[in-house]
């Protein structure tokens, strides 16, 4: 028996009945939960304290575009879970295909977000400005003040950190794909795919919350 098997073999005994790698990923995700709690909590507070600095949904932010982006991320979640289901059956080719799909959709999400940022900045909605005047697609450029600095700061911080998580996820997916291409995963060795999936779904989950509170409320 190898040392590795021994480590793992020890796991079910007094432990969690979940192998190390997966347990570690879950634990890490708990800290991610607290990180986003800090950011979202701050947003909620600032928004309640200074409602005047924030605008109604759709005034500044492009909701249809982001709804489409949300849809993309949901799709990438399902492709990810399909990749996992494939390797559970020992289907190497299926794993690779679904992973590739996930990478492409994930990258598109980042692409759309970058496009969104560029468009928003072009319209005058920047991360840092004392107060910005009537920007956005539905308002003339010299219109009334529709928001304050906090709006830009919180929007870009929250979505930016989420975007960074997605980008890191895409990189890790590429790594997983590379390993899948080398045939390193199998029906009894799929820990790497499973924790990749956990991370990816978590990022999707955070986006579900962010989309609602940042874009829709």
């Amino acid at each position: 028996m190898t040392t590795q098997a021994m480590t793992a073999g020890r796991a079910p005994m007094p432990g969690m009945k979940v192998y190390n790698l997966k347990l570690g990923m879950w634990i890490f995700l708990l800290s991610e939960v607290m990180f986003f709690t800090g950011l979202i909590g701050s947003y909620v507070i600032l928004r309640f304290a200074h409602p005047g600095q924030f605008t109604e949904p759709g005034v500044v932010l492009n909701v249809p575009l982001t709804a489409f982006n949300t849809f993309l991320l949901i799709c990438s979640s399902v492709t990810m879970v399909k990749a996992y289901a494939a390797i559970q059956q020992g289907d190497q080719q299926g794993l690779k295909n679904w992973l590739l799909a996930t990478i492409l959709i994930g990258a598109s999400f980042v692409g759309v977000q970058v496009y969104e940022y560029i468009a928003l900045v072009g319209e005058g909605f920047v991360p840092v400005a004392e107060a910005y005047h009537a920007v956005g697609r539905h308002m003339p450029h010299d219109g009334p003040v529709v928001g304050g600095q906090l709006y830009g700061s919180t929007f870009y911080t929250m979505t930016g950190f989420h975007g960074a998580h997605v980008s890191i996820g895409v990189l890790c997916l590429c790594f997983t794909y590379w390993r899948a291409a080398k045939g390193e995963y199998s029906a009894d060795n799929l820990g790497g795919v499973e924790i990749m999936g956990l991370y990816w779904h978590f990022v999707d989950l955070v986006w579900i919350i962010l989309f609602t509170i940042v874009y829709l409320i």
Partner: protein, 602 residues
């Protein structure tokens, strides 16, 4: 032995690689061995402990001899000292940097890595019978993230504008814009450094938690775990959940500083109190991060040196968990005067009061542990007993501050400074002395010199109290903290003699520490060779050679009983190691469940 046990042991033997010598760089620098990483953390954080102590000594010069030329001050750059014909006088902005960096370095770069980095790494795998951490490579990364963080922190002294000067709590908006302090880059480095360090701690915490949950040896049930491991486990959970909140806050503050966003800057609608809430939501769990492992270490040493089972093991565990949980709902006690809703103040007062209860349980259990013991007063025991008695003082002064009306007067005075140092120096640092001395033979295979240690102990406990006890009195006279020259206030001027007295004691205290440093290094080479189990201890780390080999346990240990069976009538000696099979055959619950191999992804 049951068949399953035999199989386990067999698997362990068969699975054990013959470890060939690793190249120097893999063995000492980029090591993935938890014991080596523990030592790396130890050396780095002892270095920072010395730096923090020297910063304190400089501060005390200014406080003992306000605005008089500081010896050696001419050597420091003009940005820190104002040269005069008689010598150089400390500038107020440098004093602010000193306070800030002293607090930051002591908490984040000395005590926390000593307790969590050193003892977490050293003890967790050894005490639960694992051959290493769950993720050895992550463990290495955790250490190597701490190094750039430390370098950035120290480098900030050398940059334009000096090091951060807004206190270790970095209250916004003072810290949010260089406009207010004149510190731009220094503050940003401070924020960046702590963010990186936070990541390091986080990675470590993931590792510890996984290891404790999943890698315990057969028979090592939750309630057979040594209290040190229990404490480190709960500490890791606190780190896991508290640090990300700090990280979020740090990053937002960094954006405020560098990009000009407005999270904490009221000019553009930000909320200064939001920073305080986020900081203390992390900060109070943080202070328990700094005391829980110390409590665990003390429990270990007290029970062992009193040769007596720990009194009330289960309530000790529950108290650790209780402190860990209650620690999340008391943070507002740092904000009684902050402009926070006064009704919230009352709720936070009540929860803060409640947290004294688990601490009381621990204290009384320690006392009951030494009661009717067979107390061996050697140096680890002396340090551990000092921990208990000093923690009582620090904890009791916490009650004054927890009472909101009393806190109105003593908040932000030296009474708080006294409290901090009674819990952190008298508590955490004495426990660290106890721990290092106790596990030194396990780490290095040699004993520390007992006489030098006793000398160090005697001088330190006396001088330490001469330094910090009078700080209570200073606070009661109304002396504010973080104050560069208290003689500016007429009513504080009469406190000069007492401050001078404190400062002189500090200089002696700092000098005394060189005894420990000398002993530490001298014993590395000249210390008496240690046996595998010099303290006749029960826990698993003492069943392996000193220092333990790579992979720790030559064969998988099987645990039969709790860790504190000292003076048990069942055993001939006054100790009864966890791995010694009982004379009568094992009972049912000792047999581990069947083993199913599971895939590992890395």
């Amino acid at each position: 032995m049951s068949t399953i046990e035999q199989e386990m042991v067999h698997a362990a033997e068969g699975g054990h690689h013959d470890h060939h010598e690793l190249p120097f760089i893999r063995k000492y620098i980029f090591s993935t061995d938890h014991k080596m990483i523990a030592k790396q953390f130890m050396f780095v954080s002892l270095f920072f402990l010395v730096i923090g102590g020297l910063l304190a000594a400089m501060m005390r010069w200014q406080l003992g001899y306000p605005s008089q030329p500081m010896p050696g001050g001419m050597l420091l750059p003009d940005a820190m000292m104002a040269p005069t014909p008689n010598g150089a006088i400390m500038l107020p902005e440098f004093y602010n940097s000193l306070v800030t960096m002293h607090g930051t370095i002591m908490i984040f770069f000395a005590i926390m890595p000593l307790l969590v980095g050193l003892f977490g790494n050293l003890l967790i795998p050894l005490q639960i019978g694992a051959e290493d951490m769950a993720f050895p490579r992550l463990n290495m990364i955790s250490f190597w993230l701490a190094i750039p963080a430390g370098i950035l922190m120290l480098a900030s002294f050398a940059v334009e504008g000096g090091a951060a000067g807004a206190g270790w709590t970095s209250y916004a908006p003072l810290s949010a814009s260089g406009e207010w302090t004149g510190v731009y880059l220094g503050q940003q480095l401070w924020l960046a450094s702590l963010t990186i360090l936070g990541f390091s701690s986080l990675v470590g915490a993931v590792n510890y938690i996984t290891t404790v949950i999943n890698m315990r040896a057969p028979g090592m049930t939750w309630f057979r775990m040594p209290l040190a491991t229990w404490a480190l486990f709960i500490t890791a959970i606190l780190i896991l959940l508290a640090i990300p909140v700090l990280a979020g806050a740090l990053i937002m503050l960094l954006f405020d500083q560098t990009l000009g966003t407005g999270f904490f800057r009221p000019e553009v609608g930000g909320e200064p109190l939001l920073w305080q809430h986020l900081f203390w939501f992390f900060g109070h769990p943080e202070v328990y991060i700094l005391i829980l492992p110390a409590m665990g270490i003390a429990s270990e040493v007290l029970s062992n040196r009193a040769r007596k089972p720990i009194f009330g093991y289960h309530s000790m565990v529950l108290a650790i968990i209780g402190i860990g949980f209650l620690g999340w709902i008391v943070w507002g006690h740092h904000m009684f005067m902050s402009g926070m809703n006064p009704l919230l103040g009352t709720s936070f007062m009540i929860s803060t009061m409640a947290i004294a209860v688990p601490s009381a349980i621990k204290t009384f259990n320690w006392m009951a542990t030494v009661w009717k013991g067979d107390i061996h007063l050697d140096s680890p025991m002396l340090y551990a007993l000092a921990f208990v008695s000093m923690f009582i003082i620090g904890g009791l002064s916490g009650i004054f501050m927890a009472s909101t009306p009393v806190d109105i007067y003593i908040h932000d005075t030296y009474f708080i400074v006294a409290h901090i140092h009674y819990v952190l120096f008298g508590g955490s640092l004495f426990a660290i002395f106890a721990g290092i001395t106790f596990w030194y033979p396990k780490m290095f295979g040699r004993m520390m010199n007992e006489s030098l240690n006793k000398l160090h102990f005697g001088l330190t406990i006396v001088l330490y109290n001469l330094v910090f006890w009078p700080m209570h009195n200073l606070g009661l006279q109304g002396m504010m903290r973080r104050i560069y020259d208290f003689t500016q206030y007429e009513y504080l001027a009469p406190l000069q003699p007492m401050n001078e007295f404190i400062s002189i004691s500090v200089f002696l205290l700092v000098a005394t520490q060189s005894i420990y440093a000398f002993n530490f290094f001298w014993s590395l080479f000249k210390g008496e060779k240690a046996s595998d189990n010099p303290w006749d201890s029960n826990t698993l780390e003492w069943t392996v050679p000193s220092p333990p080999p790579h992979g720790n346990f030559p064969e998988m240990p099987v645990v039969y009983r709790g860790p504190y069976e000292y003076s048990s009538p069942e055993s001939e000696t006054d100790f009864y190691p966890q791995t010694t099979p009982p004379s009568n055959p094992p009972v049912q619950d000792l047999i581990p469940e069947p083993v199913t191999p599971t895939p590992e992804g890395f």
